[in-house]
Amino acid sequence: MKTPEVLANRPPDVKEVHIIWMTSGLSCDGDTISTTGASLPSIEDVVMGNIPGLPKVHLHNPVLAYEVGDDFMKYWHMAAEGRLDPFVLVLEGSVPNENIKSEGYWAAMGTDPHTGQPITTNEWIDRLAPKALAIVCAGTCATYGGIHAMEGNPTGAMGLADYLGWEWRSKAGLPIVNVPGCPVQPDNMMETLLYLLYQVAGLAPMIPLDEQLRPTWLFGKTVHEGCDRGSYYEQADFAHEYGSPKCLVKIGCWGPVVNCNVTKRGWMDGIGGCPNVGGICIGCTMPGFPDKFMPFMDAPPGAALSTAIVGIWGGAVRKLRAITNRTVNKEPKWHHRGTHLTTGYQPKYYGNGNGRG
């Protein structure tokens, strides 16, 4: 028999790839920190070549870099000049609007060695985007604007697709890849990067994305669909106070209409999350976050009607289930110490297929 082809024996189509990770959008660096928490896979799994079939990965992230200052920025300049090829650009933080003022900048990183001028984040995007194999937006700020794009903000902040255009394609034909979350769920981020590395290696087809440019396998379901408190909703059994183990939809949870897998995946290796552990879903993965979900601690406007409707049916279901639950909580009546066997055992009927085994 021919030995099957395995990834460990197959050189990747692209041998080495760089990841240029910008945290200099309007951000809190929380997406980088979150990603250091990933274990499925971890950053070091990818960087140290722990997964078969992948290209060698060189990560350039300011929070983790060995280099400082100019030594660090040289990779940015090389990438912009086409001398660091191929690379994947990761953006963290929202993109400010630099056109609403005549001078200065909202966000910048490093300095132009020729002019001594600071290089704005937007300028870096303009320089790097045409050269990148793919762009990944980490977190809700970079994807859709997020907290810093809240109503009343002074910077005119927006997500990258608003800045580059939703139809933007990389030189390799990839759309922007959005991994929202405030912050990004650690394994969602690393798994998306892993997929792209498989794609770069020639091992996977085009990454499947939805209209909001999210990986479909991560954001195709709602919080509610994955929530282990969903059955409380089904039974119209709602929490009226925080600290209750029941469905939180009447005290501010937006789970039924929010695309996110945190209730399924948990936060760290299956632990934690949001409504599954008592935290209302405030819609932090959504393009409408935060404004469309505030004030966070009030019930969503649709919740009153939907919970009233489910109340009629759910109340009945809960009563019926309670009856069945009491029944199945009792052992069968033939478990006893009496002198007579009452299990229904009848040896003479053995093996004649009448169901009395």
Partner: protein, 604 residues
């Protein structure tokens, strides 16, 4: 696209030796956020003669928050910081509890304490050995101080039996990024501690289960068992971590005589206290003195080694926000006075955060004038009339120092003695009980800031062990309530005091018409990263870097600035916390970086 305007090259008066070189590092990596350090270095005398610290990202929190529902403030302020967002959320919840006049059930307080302890354990862990540690790793030391590396290779590690590395050189190798054994172990431990955090507060770094009035965490036996078993693994890890760092840091004093001067500054430390004792804390401003002193990390202010106060009311009333080198309009004569007197009738200064009005005034950066968006928080010492530029030393050194001197904490696993803090780590699978003792050091310098961080990891583990026992007692006694209902009042003033991982954190709130009328968070980084204030006093980073001697063996051509990096990183900079202020409505902004690395200015 708008062009930024550079500051003119600075005229520099050459020192006696002549060669003053302007050098900059932008960005400083392995910290959180954007920080640029601009220095002038006298290479002949191996000294930094001048330092300015700048930042480059602006977002606008104080303004977003106006007129928002006060119940949204902990969700929003969490997003100020991506590594200690939960400290903000917690501090905001403390301030909200005061404003709404509520006290959460004791179990909720134990849960918050356990979450915050896990945050300290996580954050110090990853920062100490995955970020700061790289400054002490083999790769770095070989590059900056080959002579020190040669010595390290043959210097036995005194605590080798505790951590397993025979020489200092082996410790340095274990700290190499991604490849080093200890680096990798620490990164893994930073995940275990984040799992502990998520058990209590739902998600890291922006928690999901914190609310004013308590928590949404379901207090099952399982949740505390899951926490405890992970905690015991961390405690075993601490029994190696603390001696390992003692060996490493002591070696630097030995290998480089005079290293104690690196990053040294006057002992001016602030700590706002951490871990509420639910038996005492009622969030009433009038009794804040009492419940502040009951915290398991004692609040306090230390001036030249003397503990000036442990009273949170005194601490609160002494806070002053100065201008001087920051791009804002002054509010002294124009701004609204929201709070004339505190609830005890004490007068509240116009420069206090309750009365701050933030009006940005973008302008060119001028190192002789205004050059930062960070204001200068100071503490008014009424004994002397000084506005003190307190630092936090990155958090742990100030926390351990105030706690040690105050001699108030004694919870079985941690105990303050008046001159030290003792941490008792019980028996674990492979190691017997260990007592660690952090003693008040001679200096407030880079090495001692870093050393304190390791000890505080163990301290936080000790507090966690105490709190998990208390939480279990509540659960086993059937007291499982975790939430106290409340109503938002028409009007209120309130404050929250806490310790963010890297030091003092306060949130000041004014509520009018059930909406936020004023909200000013003051995290540690404005204290540490502040520029020269109205009295000309430099901020702590600047102060600590200036006059720091340089021990790096490289000259200007290959200079890494390692001693400067160690100084700056000893404060655990977190720039998103430093600059969160409003920037003006489309006004110009010319805050600039003008790095001119390797540009000698010497014109003899």
């Amino acid at each position: 696209m708008a062009e930024a305007i550079a500051t003119k090259p600075r005229q520099t008066t050459p020192g006696k030796s002549g060669q003053i070189v302007e050098m900059s590092w932008d960005p400083i990596t392995r910290i959180v956020g954007s920080l640029g350090i601009f220095t002038k270095i006298d290479f002949e005398n191996k000294k930094v003669v001048e330092c300015h610290a700048t930042s480059s990202i602006f977002r606008g929190y104080s303004i977003f928050m106006q007129n928002k529902d006060p119940r949204d403030t902990h969700f929003i302020t969490s997003r100020i910081c991506g590594i200690c967002g939960d400290n903000h959320a917690t501090c905001s919840v403390y301030a909200q509890n005061m404003a709404y006049g509520i006290k959460p059930p004791p179990l909720a307080e134990w849960i918050v304490n356990l979450g915050e302890a896990a945050e300290y354990m996580f954050d110090h862990c990853i920062y100490q050995d995955n970020l700061v540690g790289v400054d002490f790793c083999e790769m770095m030391v070989r590059e900056t101080n080959p002579g020190v590396w040669e010595k390290a290779k043959v210097t036995p590690a005194p605590h080798a039996k505790d951590h397993g590395y025979r020489t200092i050189g082996e410790i340095m190798t274990a700290l190499n990024p991604f490849e080093g054994e200890f680096y990798r172990k620490t990164l893994q431990m930073s995940r275990v501690t984040r799992e502990m955090f998520c058990l209590m507060e739902g998600r890291h770094v922006h928690p999901s289960t914190l609310y004013p009035g308590g928590v949404g965490t379901v207090p099952s036996i399982q949740v505390f068992t899951d926490y405890l078993t992970r905690l015991m693994n961390y405690i075993e890890f601490m029994k190696a971590v603390v001696p390992l760092h003692d060996d490493l840091f002591d070696f630097f004093y030995e290998a480089l005589p005079g290293y104690e001067q690196v990053g040294q500054r006057r002992i001016l430390l602030g700590c706002w206290g951490s871990f509420q004792d639910p038996d005492v804390c009622d969030y009433n401003y009038r009794t804040m003195d009492e419940w502040g002193r009951a915290m398991f990390v004692t609040p306090g202010i230390i001036v030249d080694g003397e503990l000036v106060t442990t009273n949170l009311i005194d601490i609160n009333l002494g806070i002053r926000i100065l201008l001087g080198s920051a791009y804002y309009e002054d509010w002294q004569d124009s701004g609204k006075t929201f709070v004339k007197h505190d609830p005890l009738g004490n007068p509240v200064d116009k420069r206090h955060p309750w009365n701050q009005t933030t009006t940005p005034k973008p302008q060119k950066r001028d190192f002789d004038g205004n050059y930062s968006w960070v204001m200068s928080p100071r503490w008014f010492d009424k004994r002397t009339g000084d506005h003190l530029a307190l630092d936090t030393g990155g958090g742990p050194i100030a926390r351990l120092w105030t706690t040690a001197l105050a001699k108030l904490v004694d919870i079985g696993y941690v105990q303050a003695t008046g001159h030290s803090v003792k941490i008792r780590l019980p028996k674990t699978s492979l190691k017997p009980e260990v007592e660690l003792e952090w003693k008040i050091p001679k200096w407030s310098n880079a090495i001692e800031r870093d050393r304190a961080r390791s000890y505080f990891q163990a301290y936080a583990a000790g507090v966690a062990l105490y709190c998990v026992e208390q939480a279990m007692k509540e659960v086993l006694a059937g007291r499982t309530q975790t939430f106290t209902p409340f109503k938002v009042p028409e009007e209120a003033i309130s404050c929250g005091f806490h310790e963010a991982v890297r030091g003092v954190l306060s949130h000041h709130m004014v509520i009018k018409n059930r909406k936020v009328a004023n909200y000013h968070p003051y995290p540690p980084t404005p204290w540490n990263a502040s520029p020269r204030d109205s009295y000309g006093t430099p901020g702590p980073y600047e102060d600590a870097v200036q006059n720091t001697p340089l021990f790096e063996e490289n000259g200007p051509d290959k200079f890494k600035g390692i001693d400067i990096m160690r100084t700056v990183r000893s404060f655990d900079p977190c720039l998103p916390c430093g600059v969160h202020m409003y920037l003006g409505n489309g006004k110009l902004l010319k805050q600039l970086h003008n790095p001119t690395a390797f540009a000698p200015l010497a014109k003899k």
